[in-house]
Every structure is written in structure tokens, then in C-alpha cells.
């Protein structure tokens, strides 16, 4: 078994990261956490997570950026909001998961071939193209990009959906795609302006 050093030095902390989280929408209450763990206990997925939500919050506010962004936890969050509802300090845990996911995608530190971030990106691309999402095409696209083998295992489901008329290979599109793209372009411009500052 390979030995791994678990000791953490203060130099490994990224204070800016913690401050960034608290400035993002939903991250405001991060520091109020009293580490009660109700988020982890109510989470239907914490049993699969490498860090429980409580621990992730603790790591985030102490500035352990690498651990936080490369954790599986943020990708396993299914956005069911149970943690947020139960939190005694009104910490918007789900939104913190979202902002951490965005940062992880931005910095390209999410796990390779892990389908969730790929799905998220493809979802965005499809909206840009058609204005709506076609689940069939999205799923096909996803598996082509992540796991061919899994895709083959899905044929049974595909046939079932075909049979019940729930699958369609023709994407639904909106009429005023230009209008939508203008909105997105305006935000791109805004972002460029911000990063230039």
C-alpha cells in the first residue's frame, strides 16, 4: 500500500479561495458553519462522497482549495436541497456545491472521463445551439464522450423508450435563437469587461 503524507502545512492553504467562496452567490454564510453535520446526515449521497458535505464546508472555509475542487463530493451532489433546508445556520450548501463545480470546470480539475461535468458542459452547448435540450441526443453525446462501453449497455433502455414513443432524434428548437444568443453574448461581453478590470 503506498504511504501518503496526510499532514497539512499552512502554506497549502489558499486564503483567497475561501474569501472567493464567501463572495459568490450562495456562499455568503460559509463561515457561519458550526460543523453540526446535519447536511451530511440528511444527504442521500454522502455515503459515496470522499468528503462529507460538512467536511467539504470546513475545508473550503479553511482554504484547502485543491482538496475541495478535486473532490468527488461536488459532482455527486444531485441538487436535492435537503442539506440547505436542514442547515441551522442557513448555509446554502447546494449553491456552494454549484459554485465549486463551476470553479472546478473553470480550472479543469474535475476527474477525467467523469461524466457529470461533461454532461453539464454538453447541456450548455445544446442550449446554445437549439435553445432547448433533447434528452436523447444529450445522452448519446454524453456516452460518446465518456464511456462507449456503458452506451452499449443502454440499448435495452433505448429500445424501451423507442417503444413508448419517448425518444426523439430531432431536436426541438426555438424560433428566435438570435434573441437567446444575444443575451448570452451580452453576458460574455460583461465578463470580458470584468476580467479586464
Amino acid at each position: 500500500m503506498p504511504l501518503e503524507q496526510k499532514l497539512k502545512y499552512e502554506a497549502e492553504r489558499d486564503v483567497k479561495f475561501a474569501n472567493w467562496v464567501t463572495r459568490e452567490t450562495g456562499g455568503e454564510n460559509l463561515r457561519h458553519c458550526i460543523q453540526c453535520g446535519v447536511c451530511s446526515a440528511t444527504c442521500p449521497l454522502s455515503l459515496y462522497m470522499d468528503y462529507t458535505p460538512r467536511r467539504l464546508i470546513n475545508l473550503a472555509r479553511e482554504g484547502f482549495k485543491k482538496e475541495v475542487l478535486s473532490s468527488l463530493t461536488i459532482w455527486l451532489c444531485a441538487s436535492c436541497y435537503a442539506c440547505r433546508v436542514e442547515c441551522p445556520k442557513k448555509i446554502q450548501v447546494t449553491d456552494i456545491m454549484y459554485l465549486l463545480k463551476r470553479r472546478a470546470i473553470q480550472e479543469g480539475v474535475y476527474p477525467r472521463h467523469f461524466p457529470i461535468p461533461v454532461l453539464a458542459k454538453e447541456f450548455g452547448r445544446m442550449i446554445f445551439l437549439f435553445g432547448r435540450v433533447n434528452e436523447t441526443l444529450l445522452v448519446i453525446d454524453l456516452f460518446l464522450r465518456t464511456n462507449w462501453f456503458r452506451f452499449l449497455g443502454m440499448t435495452r433502455l433505448g429500445m424501451n423508450l423507442m417503444r413508448t414513443g419517448r425518444m426523439s432524434f430531432i431536436p426541438e428548437q426555438i424560433k428566435r435563437k438570435r434573441e437567446l444568443r444575444k443575451i448570452l453574448a451580452a453576458l460574455d461581453a460583461e465578463e470580458q469587461k470584468e476580467s479586464a478590470l
Binding site: K6, L7, K8, Y9, E10, A11, R31, H32, C33, I34, Q35, Y51, R54, R55, N58, L59, E62, F64, K89
Partner: protein
């Protein structure tokens, strides 16, 4: 259920009652079996058991039986006499029987609560009941003594507890003498800058009360003084107080401090105890500008005149009011008071005892009290948070539970450290902008506004790391750690061990009993718990009373507590004293000793043995005389008398012998 039978010749008619105490007694002791058994004993004409003897119907049952069955003696098997002896004596009186024709048997604390074997516990309950039945036959009718209560009060200790108790009593029109060991009143609270959780300035809320003490017409303030001896009993204490010499006449000095400027030492040179040694003072000094009384004093250990007698005494020359008196001697004062409030406070844990935290070894390690002085606007640095070498800390670690919650030192939680650590974290951050880490085991914030204060600190970005720090070291493992103190701790919530380099370490030392608490408790004849804090009469229902009537305790001398709780307790202690004063008199137990004159040979062996100086020798008759009011019924003289001529009420020979006979009988 009850057994009743007719009168037996020669033996007084005895009623026996056994209490179930809910299930406290009845779950272990077969009370019906005991009841039936006792009914067979000689003299017992009524034997009953009842769910709660101490309840109104329980007492009424006794009173009614006394009347109906013409009972002449009463035995109740229940809990400790400490709790209900008085209750059943009253029940006896209600039925028309002398209260002392009664004997109580403790089968709860002495049997059901301490035994698991039901048969054996029941046997023991029978033995004890039998002993009491045998004994009570010989009881005699006695009356309680009434003695007047002196309305004057002594308050010992001039911290916030003593100040508040003294003012409360004085405002109620009672004459109070407040005795303080240090040169000023104010206690620990006078050291603080702010108070949690409201962050009021400690001086702003304390100094008005200090000056109120000084100017109150009903308060005599003796600082730099200590109680030497306490004699007497509730309502009538005689107290000797030693007034230590200041070498400055307190009545003349107005605190102008011209003498301090004039001292031959141009610069302050000696460690200033008030500032926890962080500042310096001259041999003539005053603790702080608002010291009360505002009177200077001389430290004989550093004053040249006091040490060698060869100083030009420029201080005395500078004094317009000629207040200096280098020949001042300690003065012994005697006062009469009826009640005493002890508010002698606490001391903080000696941080040097935890060598792993390096206090005294690394200059960057401070105690919390030192930091209180550093953040204090009128402290030695005027509120500047600086290290001993003058640098400003960039990172500060506060270690909680130093000398608390540790079987190796003090087992208890000191209750205030979490909150004052939060306060100091806030103040340090505010004063220095440093990164602050709190290392805690559990965060304990039970109090009004306390949890909210914790939440505020969390929001301020203070780090909270759950884990007990294992060491403070200057051994650097990384370049960032060079020149720093590194704290090694398991961040138990993050799940790994961390090394955190800081410039300043603050040890949140816990609260302990005063070093001389043992001595003081003997002086005042009260009890101490195993931790050394003064023992209250009951932890819930008599928290400011002691086992000695007329002596009350308030504040941290009873156990660790914060200012709000201390003040509440001081008010309670004052109210308890007022209860006695306003009643005007107290009743004393009639368990005193008396001399059978014809048998006394006047040998005087009893006289020096009496701890209460209650025995004198009538020189004319050459017989010992016992002052009933002074006698506390300890029995020392009774046992010591070579001729057996001293007897004691409630402990007469025939009472004790038949009790022994009873307990041994089958």
C-alpha cells in the same frame, strides 16, 4: 397501611413511620416488611408506611396520630436529616409533641441509594429503625434558643462579587465592612478591557460601582487588609482584620501621584503585578488610575528607604499632605458582625505547568490575562497588541482549555474560557488585523447572547479548529515556519493533522480556587469541594449558603463562573444575609453541652479544648461554665471530661447507649 396496638407499661408510646420516597427507598427496601417488624418492638403503638412522608398529607398523618394515639415519641425512617429533620420536628409540634421527642433514621442515603442487595438493605433498615426506637425512649423535651442577629455585615473580597454584595446590603441600609487583600478593589474585572458578549467596556461599568463603594456612607472599605480570625456564631461573629501597612496614611493621601513623579527612580523599573508583569512600576505606586481607594502605597521590597533607610525620600518631600509614614505598622482591627459574605474569587491556572505549550520558555507565548492587559486601552501598551520584542503579530493562536478538562491538571470546565477566547479573538483581530486561530475541544456558549457572539466571530473569519494542541514549538519544517511558533494539532473536523505557524500563542487558562482557599475555609469554618472551591449548602437549592449559618458565598470562590452569574450570585448572597438581619434573631439547636456542677472537679482540662472558647472556669466555685450561646455542640469537652461531668443535649449517655444496644439487638 398501619399496625396499631395498646400501650405497654413503662415505655413511652412510640409512633414509627417509614417513607417510600416514591421508588427511591421502596425499590430496594421492603418497607412493608420493616413497618411490620417495627410494630413488634417494645413501645411502638403505631407503625405506618407512606409514599411521601414529607408531603402535607404525610405530615398531617403524623400530627393526627400523635393526637389520636397519644404518642409520646416519634421515629421517621426516610431521607437525610439534612433535608427533612426540620419538617418532621414541625409535624411533631403540630401534633402537640415536643419537637425533640423525635428521632430521624436515614434509610435513603444510608441504605437504599448505596445498596443493591434488597434483603440486606431491608435488614439494615430494620437495624437502624430499631436503634432509633430504643434511643427515642430516652429523649427529653428541649427548646431551641433564640439569639439576636447583629445587623452589620462583613464582605470579604472586593471583586465584582464583593462590590455588588456590599452595595446591595448598604443600599438596604445595613452597615457593611468590605475587606480586600489587594491595594484596590475591582478584582479580575478591573484587568479586562471589554466584557463578553456585549463588549461593554469593563472599566465603564465597573468603576462607577467602585466609587459608589468608596463613597457609600454605609460601607467601610478596608483594602490591603486580610481577615485574621473569626469567632462566634450566626448573628454574632467577632472578626479580626489585619490592615497591612502602605507606608502612606490613607486618610491623608488624595492620590495626586506627585510622589510617584518625585521618586528617586526616574523610570519605572520593577515588574508591575497589576499588569501581569508586562509593565513596570516604581517602588511607590498605584495599580491603575481608577484604583479605589485612590491611595498610593510603597513596596518595601524595592523601596530604598525601606530596605536601607538611606534614601533622600523625595517622595515624602513631594507630598503636600505629609501622608508618608515609613514606620507604619500593621494594625489589627476587630469588628462585630451578624453575617458574612465570602467573595474571595479565584486564581488562574499556572500556564507553566503545561510545558508543552512553552509558557515562560518562548517569549511569544502569553496567558489570556496578559492579553487582557495588552488589548486594554489603559494597559501597559495602551491597547497595542505587541509581542515581547515589540513586533506586531501577523498570526495568533488561542489555545482553549489550558488547565481545564484535563485529568492531569483540573478536571472541570472553567466555563468562561470559550467566551473570553472569542472576545480576545475579536479584540486581537480588531487591534492588530492578525489572522486568529482558536483551538477548541468543544465550543461552550451557554448564556444570553453567547451563541450569537460565537456566530459573529465565525462570520468575522476567525479560524475555529477543533482539536487540542499537542505542542508549541519553534522547530521549523518549512520556510514559512522559520522564526514562528508552530502549533501541531489534529483538525478533527477536517480529518488531518495540521501545523500552524503563528507569532503569538494565547493560553486560555482556566479558573482555580485561590491558593489559600483551604486556609480561608478553616478560618470561616466552611467546606471545600475536592477541587478546592467553597462548598455550597446545596448545589441547586442553596447555592450561596454554606453549612455554617450566617456565612454566604458569592462568585468564583464557589466555582468557575462569569460576571453575569457572579453578580446574580452576589445579589442572592446579600438577600440571604438580609433574611437573617430582618428576622432579627436566629434559633439555635439545643444540642449544647452543660456541666453537672456537683460532679465537676474544676480541673480545667476542657477549657483549652473548646474550639469556640465557650468554656470558662468560675473562679469562685472552681467549676467549669459553658456559655450556651457560644457552644456549637461539637462534643469535644463531653468526651474529654475526666470526671464525666459534662453532658450534651441530644447526646446523653442513656440515649447513645440504648441506640447502640438497639442497633446490635437481634
Amino acid at each position: 397501611m398501619a399496625e396499631q396496638k395498646e400501650h405497654q407499661n413503662g415505655i413511652p408510646r412510640i409512633g414509627f413511620y417509614i417513607c417510600h420516597c416514591g421508588s427511591n427507598i421502596a425499590s430496594i427496601i421492603d418497607v412493608e416488611d420493616v413497618r411490620k417488624y417495627v410494630a413488634t418492638l417494645p413501645g411502638v403503638v403505631v407503625s405506618r408506611d407512606y409514599k411521601y412522608m414529607c408531603s402535607d398529607p404525610g405530615q398531617e398523618l403524623i400530627a393526627q396520630d400523635i393526637r389520636e394515639h397519644k404518642l409520646e415519641r416519634l421515629v421517621v425512617s426516610a431521607c437525610s436529616p439534612n433535608l427533612h429533620e426540620e419538617t418532621f420536628r414541625n409535624a411533631a409540634a403540630k401534633g402537640g409533641l415536643n419537637s425533640f421527642y423525635f428521632q430521624m433514621v436515614n434509610i435513603r442515603e444510608h441504605a437504599s441509594w448505596v445498596h443493591e442487595d434488597k434483603a440486606a438493605a431491608t435488614r439494615k433498615a430494620k437495624d437502624l429503625a430499631r436503634a432509633a426506637v430504643y434511643r427515642v425512649r430516652f429523649h427529653q423535651a428541649l427548646e431551641k434558643r433564640k439569639v439576636p442577629v447583629d445587623p452589620n455585615v462583613l464582605v470579604v473580597g472586593g471583586g465584582i462579587a464583593g462590590i455588588h454584595a456590599a452595595l446591595t446590603l448598604a443600599n438596604a441600609g445595613k452597615k457593611v465592612t468590605l475587606v480586600e487583600r489587594e491595594a484596590t478593589i475591582g478584582g479580575h474585572m478591573a484587568l479586562f478591557d471589554k466584557t463578553f458578549p456585549t463588549m461593554d467596556c469593563a472599566a465603564c461599568i465597573l468603576t462607577p460601582k467602585m466609587s459608589a463603594v468608596k463613597s457609600h456612607p454605609n460601607i467601610t472599605l478596608w483594602t490591603y487588609s486580610e481577615v485574621e480570625k473569626v469567632e462566634g456564631y450566626v448573628g454574632n461573629y467577632k472578626v479580626s482584620v489585619k490592615r497591612k501597612p502602605r507606608y502612606v496614611n490613607e486618610d491623608l493621601c488624595v492620590g495626586c501621584m506627585a510622589c510617584i513623579d518625585a521618586c528617586v527612580f526616574k523610570e519605572p523599573k520593577f515588574p508591575d503585578k497589576f499588569n501581569q508583569g508586562l509593565g513596570k512600576r516604581k517602588p511607590v505606586y498605584i495599580d491603575f488610575p481608577q484604583a479605589t481607594p485612590k491611595v498610593v502605597l510603597i513596596d518595601p521590597a524595592t523601596c530604598i528607604q525601606m530596605k536601607t533607610g538611606k534614601c533622600k525620600k523625595s517622595c515624602a518631600d513631594a507630598c503636600d499632605r505629609k501622608a508618608f509614614d515609613f514606620n507604619q505598622q500593621p494594625e489589627l482591627k476587630e469588628i462585630q458582625v451578624g453575617t458574612i459574605v465570602l467573595a474571595t474569587g479565584f486564581k488562574t491556572y499556572d500556564a507553566k505547568r503545561d510545558a508543552l505549550y512553552g509558557y515562560g520558555r518562548y517569549p511569544g507565548v502569553f496567558t489570556a490575562l496578559e492579553i487582557e492587559r495588552l488589548v486594554n486601552a489603559s494597559g501597559p501598551t495602551l491597547g497595542d497588541v505587541v509581542l515581547r520584542d515589540g513586533r506586531h503579530p501577523k498570526a495568533v493562536g488561542i489555545i482553549h482549555c489550558v488547565g481545564s478538562r484535563d485529568e492531569k491538571t483540573n478536571k472541570w470546565c472553567s466555563r468562561v474560557c470559550c467566551m473570553y477566547s472569542l472576545k480576545l479573538a475579536h479584540l486581537i483581530k480588531e487591534h492588530s488585523g492578525a489572522e486568529v486561530y482558536n483551538f477548541y475541544i468543544d465550543m461552550r456558549t451557554p448564556g444570553k447572547g453567547y451563541e450569537e457572539f460565537y456566530d459573529k466571530l465565525l462570520a468575522e473569519g476567525v479560524h475555529f479548529i477543533r482539536g487540542r494542541v499537542a505542542e508549541v514549538t519553534d522547530w521549523a519544517m518549512t520556510p514559512e515556519e522559520q522564526g514562528k511558533l508552530v502549533l501541531r494539532v489534529e483538525d478533527t473536523l477536517a480529518g488531518f493533522v495540521r501545523r500552524i505557524p503563528v507569532d503569538m500563542v494565547v493560553l486560555a487558562t482556566g479558573m482555580e480556587a485561590q491558593a489559600d482557599a483551604g486556609e480561608v475555609r478553616h478560618k470561616f469554618n466552611i467546606g471545600c469541594g475536592s477541587e478546592g472551591f467553597f462548598q455550597e449548602r446545596h448545589p441547586k437549592l442553596a447555592p450561596v449558603n454554606t453549612f455554617t449559618d450566617g456565612i454566604f458565598i458569592a462568585g468564583a470562590c464557589q466555582g468557575p463562573r462569569d460576571i453575569p452569574d457572579t453578580v446574580a450570585q452576589a445579589g442572592a448572597a446579600a438577600a440571604e444575609a438580609l433574611v437573617l438581619i430582618d428576622a432579627g434573631h436566629v434559633e439555635l439547636e439545643p444540642n449544647t453541652a452543660h456541666v453537672v456542677e456537683e460532679e465537676c472537679c474544676g480541673c480545667k482540662s476542657c477549657v483549652p479544648l473548646c474550639p469556640y472558647s465557650a468554656i470558662t472556669l468560675d473562679e469562685a466555685k472552681k467549676k467549669a461554665v459553658i456559655n450556651e450561646v457560644l457552644c456549637k455542640g461539637c462534643g469535644t469537652c463531653v468526651a474529654a471530661c475526666p470526671s464525666g461531668s459534662i453532658r450534651q443535649n441530644l447526646f446523653e449517655d442513656d440515649e447513645i447507649f440504648s441506640e447502640i444496644e438497639g442497633v446490635l439487638a437481634q
